[in-house]
């Protein structure tokens, strides 16, 4: 299969990338890992007129803690995130999710920024970043802004990015000491899109829950934030009853559709089960 005809440029700097985007607007599309974009182009679901390959721009792949944040470069490959000791020690929901993204060959190419910008409701990073309350740094040739991931993800394959903008970095608030997290994913086989997946992040303070973040994958028109469940947990004791109620609220917030992976009812039931299990696992880690 061939994609429709397009033009292709591979600039060496972020400035050149942004200048190209400014010049070509919505004709242009950034090519990062390409593991969703290239298949979509070959199936003719996407036909950008110009591909702007950012893979030759140095300095866009990194994972580091600075000040208040964990900073992840937009072009960091999923394989690098899977191997990151920093994520394993301090960001369990990310460390859980990374090795579950698609399959090893896709992870060798696929990037975190590309995943977020693609905004597939079955994508994993969106839910993880919602649970962690992360932000993205967005640049254009004239501007730079930082917005929460909850404002980035708008709808299926649709973000609030302007065609002239590019995500350059993901900023995750540093996790306090008494924190834990988990990513649970059901897939029919390795490499398939999630049937259901849930991202959970918990922070404790003197035995009560200071903050809970819950993101849901593949059960709505985008990665969903289970806000009602999060609110119910904030300030509560981490009891089985509280977790059960949060799981119920999260399932209520989901709106899956029936497909080959399962019925809507089944997926809702799995959201409930996974959120409860995910909270249990996060609590265990938070208590250390």
């Amino acid at each position: 299969m061939f994609p429709s005809r397009f033009d292709y440029v591979a600039p060496d700097t972020v400035e050149e990338v942004l200048a190209t985007l400014a010049q070509h607007g919505d004709e242009a599309k950034i090519l990062a890992g390409g593991q969703s974009l290239i298949p979509l182009m070959k199936l003719r679901f996407a036909s950008p007129g110009l591909l702007v390959d950012v893979n030759r721009v140095p300095g866009l792949g990194f994972v580091e803690e600075t000040g208040e944040h964990l900073r992840v470069g937009t072009l960091t490959r999923n394989t690098e995130l899977e191997r990151s000791a920093l994520l394993k020690s301090g960001y369990p929901v990310m460390a859980d999710a990374a090795p579950m993204i698609s399959d090893p060959l896709v992870r060798n190419r696929g990037t975190i920024g590309g995943s977020l910008a693609h905004a597939d409701p079955a994508g994993d990073w969106g839910s993880v970043m919602l649970a962690l309350g992360a932000e993205v740094v967005i640049k254009s040739s004239t501007d730079e802004r930082t917005i929460p991931v909850s404002e980035l993800l708008v709808n299926t394959f649709t973000t609030s990015l302007d065609p002239t903008e590019m995500i350059t970095e993901i900023r995750v608030p540093k996790t306090p000491a008494r924190s834990g997290g988990s990513y649970l994913k059901m897939e029919r086989r390795v490499g398939d899109f999630a049937t259901v997946a849930t991202a959970v992040h918990l922070t404790l303070d003197n035995g009560t829950i200071k903050r809970a973040g819950i993101g849901l994958t593949a059960v709505g028109s985008k990665n969903l934030q289970a806000s009602a469940a999060e609110d119910a947990l904030a300030g509560a004791e981490p009891t089985a009853e509280a977790f059960e109620e949060a799981a119920r609220l999260a399932a209520e917030a989901s709106s899956p559709s029936s497909d080959v992976r399962g019925s809507a009812e089944y997926k809702k039931a799995m959201v409930r089960t996974f959120v409860r299990r995910g909270l249990d696992k996060a609590l265990e880690l938070a208590r250390g």
């Binding site: 033009d7 070509h24 390409g34 298949p39 996407a46 090893p104 060798n108 409701p121 390795v190």
Partner: protein
Amino acid sequence: MEKLDLRSRVERSVSRRTFIKGVVATGATVSAGAYVLRSSGASTASAQGAVERLVTLRVNGQDRRVDVMKQETLAMTLRYKLGLTGTKIGCDRADCGACTVLVDGVPKYSCSLLTHQVRGAEVTTIEGLANGDELHPVQQAVVDEAGFQCAFCAPGFIMAMVGTIQESPSLTRDEMAHALSGNLCRCADYPKILNSAMRAAEYMRSTTA
């Protein structure tokens, strides 16, 4: 099956109607999603970082001069321009792994890489493994363990094994299964393929020891 599945998934989630509704409902600031399902319009861009059609690829240790269209994938170029038909095209959408090659030593789906993206990189295909008549240890292990049924997936599996074992020579069987999970075998000959991979790791450890 996977093609129909992806097609129906995309069509269901982004039918033209719901897509337009989504854009209307979320306001005019939302336009990034418009690349999905838009009609084709190749632009005539001449921007920074523009590429020439005639490129030099480094494949199996040789420089190969080749005329490459922008929309050509590495799998296409290898098979139909360079005659390296050991690399197979199965699903052609980053799923089955039949097209796996090494790019700078890392296994990747050559069906989902544009050929222009590998300019300057070292590409290794199944044809580049053997040293004359002497098989690569991984190839030898696959022969010794009869790790194939129809063998259409074998070149991809072997390339994934080479990349995996070079990176991590002492994986457990479970870890190996996880590492090779980007490759599919329609004959479902996985136990023997895994036997081969474990044998291959053993051979490679002894050749480098």
